[in-house]
C-alpha cells in the first residue's frame, strides 16, 4: 500500500471507527466483542482496499460488514454458550457510566432488550436515521418487512415503557 493509500485508510478508520463501534455494540451488546468486530471489518476492508475506491457509499459498505460480522458472532457457538450464563455474568461496570445512568435511559434499555430482527430496524431507522427504503436495502429485506418489524418493535416497546416514555417515542 502506498503512502497516500495508507493515509486514506487511516482517514477511513478515523472517520468511521466511532460510528461502527456503536453499530456493532447495538447488535452484540458487548464492547470487547464490538471492538473485535470493528477491527476485523477494517481488516477485511484493508485487504480489498483498492477494489472499493469507486464504491458509491463506503459507509454503507462498512456498516454491512459490521452487521454481518455481528450476526455471525450472535449465531456462533461461543455466543450461544455464553448466552445461558450471561444471566449471571455481565460486563464490567464503568463507574462514569453508572453516574450517567442516574439519568433514566429506559428507552435505550428497552431497545437493547429487543430481539435482533426488531432491534436492528429500530437502530438503523432511529439511530442511523435511514429511511425505510434505505433500511430495507441495507438489511436486504423488503420495505414491507421493515415496516412490519417496526410495528412489532414499537408494539413491544409500548408494552415495556411507561406511558410518558411511550409518548416521547410515539412522537418521534
Amino acid at each position: 500500500m502506498m503512502l497516500s493509500d495508507e493515509q486514506a485508510f487511516q482517514q477511513v478508520m478515523e472517520t468511521y471507527s466511532d460510528y461502527l463501534l456503536r453499530i456493532a455494540f447495538l447488535y452484540v451488546k458487548d464492547w470487547q466483542v464490538a471492538e473485535d468486530i470493528v477491527q476485523d471489518s477494517f481488516l477485511s476492508y484493508y485487504v480489498k482496499f483498492e477494489q472499493f475506491e469507486e464504491r458509491a457509499s463506503l459507509k454503507t459498505y462498512l456498516v454491512r460488514i459490521v452487521i454481518n460480522k455481528s450476526k455471525d458472532y450472535l449465531k456462533s457457538w461461543t455466543y450461544r454458550k455464553q448466552q445461558l450464563t450471561n444471566h449471571f455474568f455481565q460486563t464490567k461496570i464503568d463507574p462514569q457510566k453508572m453516574l450517567q445512568q442516574a439519568e433514566r435511559l429506559d428507552i435505550a434499555e428497552a431497545i437493547l432488550q429487543l430481539p435482533i430482527p426488531l432491534r436492528e430496524v429500530i437502530v438503523h431507522y432511529y439511530y442511523e436515521e435511514l429511511s425505510v427504503l434505505e433500511v430495507a436495502s441495507l438489511l436486504r429485506i423488503s420495505d414491507n418487512t421493515v415496516k412490519t418489524r417496526m410495528r412489532r418493535a414499537r408494539q413491544l416497546l409500548k408494552e415495556k415503557l411507561s406511558s410518558e416514555e411511550w409518548e416521547v417515542l410515539a412522537n418521534e
Partner: protein, 451 residues
C-alpha cells in the same frame, strides 16, 4: 437529534478511547495482512532494499549501536490504558464471617457445586474447607497489609490439619489471591484484575466484584470476590470452550429449587399452549431456575413424529432469526427425556429403516464477503437411548454445521450417505471459492453408525 438516538448515545458513552485502541490494533494486525495489489512485489522489493541499505549504513557507521537502533523503533501502544483506582477496601472483608457455611451451585461437572466453610484462625489467617462431595480441600489464607496469600492447600484425609500461630507464620506463600491496589487492569503474578464487575448469583446481585483471571494449563480460571461476601463465583473455561461454573447459592441455609414453577410453551402442531414443570426441562441450564424470567423466555415445541405412545419432538428457544437452540426430546405421557441440543435450524429429518435412529439435517448459514454460504450438519439421535449416535469417521459432518450438505439418505439401518462439496476444508474462503466455480464438484461420503 431524536430522543432514541440521544438515549442510545448517552447509554453507550464516549467511544473515542475504544476507537483509538481499535485503530492501533488494526495497524498492528494489518502488517501481517497485506492488501491485494499488483504493485506489492515491487513495493516490497524496494522496501527490503531500502531496509538493507539502512542496516548496512548503521553497521558501517557504528557496529555497536544495533541495540540502540532496535530500542528506538516505534511501538504501537495497545491496551495501555489503565483506569484509576476506585477505592481501597479492607482485605479482611474478602472472606465470609467466622463459622459461615456457604453453598455453591455448579454446572459443568458433578463437582462444580460445593460447600464452603469459613473459620477465622486469627485476625490474619482464615481457613476455608471446600467440600465438593468428592473430596474436602483445606485451604489457609494469610491476610497481609497489601495482599491475601494462599499458604496451605491440601486434600483433607481424615481430619483437618491444625496449626499454631507460629507454624502459620512459617508457611511459605503458594500464591497471591488478591493484591492491592484494587484497580482495573492491575496485574500480579500472571493474574489480571478487573474491577468493578457486575454479576448475578442465585444468592444476590453484585455490582462491585473483583474479578481475578488466571491462565492455567488447559484453560482460564476466573474468580469473583465481593468485599463483604468473599468468594461468590468461580469459573473455569477450557481452551476448547467447556465451562465449569460455581455460583454462590446461599449462606447458612440450604438453597432450594422451586419445583412448583411451571413453564408454558406453544405446541406448533396444534397451536395450543401447554404447561410443564420447569425443572423437567433438563436441557435448560438448571441455574436459570433462580433467575428465570418467564416474560423474556419464549419456548415452542414441535412434534416430529409419533410411534405408539412415544413422541419425538423438539423444543426451540433463544431464537435468532431462523436459528434456535433445538433440544430434541422424547415424550411419553408426562415424562420428557432429553436427547441432544443443537444450535441452528432443523431443515429436515429421516428415520432409519428400523425406526431406531433419526437423522436430521441442521443448517447454520454464514455471511462471508457479503455472500451467504450454506452450512449444515447431520445429526443422528438414537431414539431408544436418547443419545447422539456419532459415527467414528468423518465426524466433521456430524459435530458442527461446517459444510454444505445437499442430499442425505439411509443406505441401511446403520449406514448413511450424503452428498457434499468436493473441497479440502470448510474454511469460509474455500467454500466461497467453490461456490464461484462452474462445476461445483461434489462427492459422496458414506459413514457407519456404532448402533
Amino acid at each position: 437529534m431524536n430522543e432514541i438516538k440521544r438515549q442510545l448515545n448517552k447509554k453507550m458513552g464516549s467511544t473515542s478511547k475504544r476507537s483509538e485502541q481499535v485503530m492501533a490494533k488494526v495497524n498492528v494486525r494489518k502488517r501481517q495482512k497485506q492488501p491485494f495489489k499488483k504493485s506489492n512485489r515491487l513495493y516490497y522489493a524496494t522496501f527490503v532494499i531500502f531496509l538493507a541499505m539502512i542496516t548496512l549504513t548503521i553497521l558501517v557507521m557504528n557496529p555497536w549501536s544495533l541495540n540502540d537502533f532496535s530500542q528506538t523503533t516505534p511501538t504501537v501502544p495497545v491496551d495501555e490504558e489503565i483506569k484509576e483506582t476506585i477505592e481501597e477496601l479492607p482485605l479482611q472483608k474478602y472472606f465470609k464471617e467466622d463459622g459461615d457455611v456457604a453453598y455453591f451451585l455448579g454446572m459443568g461437572n458433578e463437582y462444580a457445586g460445593f460447600t464452603e466453610t469459613t473459620t477465622w484462625l486469627s485476625d490474619e489467617y482464615v481457613e476455608i474447607l471446600e467440600d465438593n462431595t468428592g473430596a474436602v480441600m483445606q485451604k489457609v489464607y494469610r491476610i497481609k497489609t497489601d495482599a491475601i496469600e494462599l499458604v496451605y492447600e491440601e486434600i483433607m484425609e481424615f481430619e483437618k490439619k491444625s496449626f499454631t500461630l507460629t507454624q502459620l507464620n512459617q508457611l511459605d506463600p503458594i500464591q497471591t489471591i488478591i493484591k492491592l491496589p484494587v484497580k482495573d487492569g492491575f496485574t500480579f503474578e500472571g493474574q489480571a484484575m478487573s474491577y468493578p464487575v457486575k454479576l448475578i448469583t442465585p444468592y444476590k446481585e453484585y455490582d462491585n466484584l473483583v474479578q481475578i483471571t488466571k491462565e492455567i494449563e488447559g484453560g482460564k480460571n476466573y474468580f469473583y470476590y465481593d468485599n463483604g461476601d468473599g468468594l461468590v463465583a468461580k469459573q473455569f473455561i477450557t481452551n476448547d470452550g467447556h465451562e465449569i461454573l460455581s455460583l454462590l447459592g446461599s449462606i447458612n441455609e440450604l438453597p432450594t429449587i422451586n419445583k412448583e414453577k411451571v413453564i408454558s410453551f406453544k405446541n406448533t402442531l396444534n397451536n395450543t399452549v401447554e404447561e410443564i414443570p420447569f425443572y423437567q426441562l433438563t436441557f435448560l441450564n438448571q441455574l436459570l431456575l433462580y433467575k428465570y424470567e418467564a416474560d423474556n423466555f419464549e419456548l415452542t415445541y414441535e412434534p416430529l413424529f409419533t410411534d405408539k405412545d412415544t413422541e419425538i419432538g423438539v423444543f426451540k428457544y433463544n431464537c435468532l432469526e431462523q436459528y434456535c437452540e433445538n433440544a430434541f426430546v422424547k415424550r411419553l405421557g408426562e415424562d420428557i427425556t432429553f436427547g441432544s441440543l443443537v444450535w441452528g435450524k432443523l431443515q429436515s429429518f429421516k428415520l432409519s429403516p428400523n425406526y431406531e435412529n433419526i437423522l436430521m439435517s441442521i443448517t447454520l448459514d454464514e455471511y462471508y464477503e457479503d455472500t451467504l454460504l450454506p452450512r449444515a450438519m447431520l445429526h443422528v439421535l438414537n431414539i431408544d437411548k436418547m443419545e447422539v449416535n456419532l459415527p467414528s469417521s468423518k465426524q466433521d459432518y456430524f459435530t458442527h454445521p461446517w459444510y454444505p450438505i445437499f442430499h442425505y439418505e439411509w443406505i441401511d439401518d446403520k449406514t448413511i450417505q450424503a452428498e457434499v462439496p468436493d473441497i479440502e476444508n470448510y474454511e469460509s474462503p474455500t467454500i466461497y471459492k467453490w461456490r464461484q466455480t462452474k462445476q461445483q464438484k461434489t462427492k459422496i461420503i458414506e459413514v457407519s453408525l456404532p448402533y
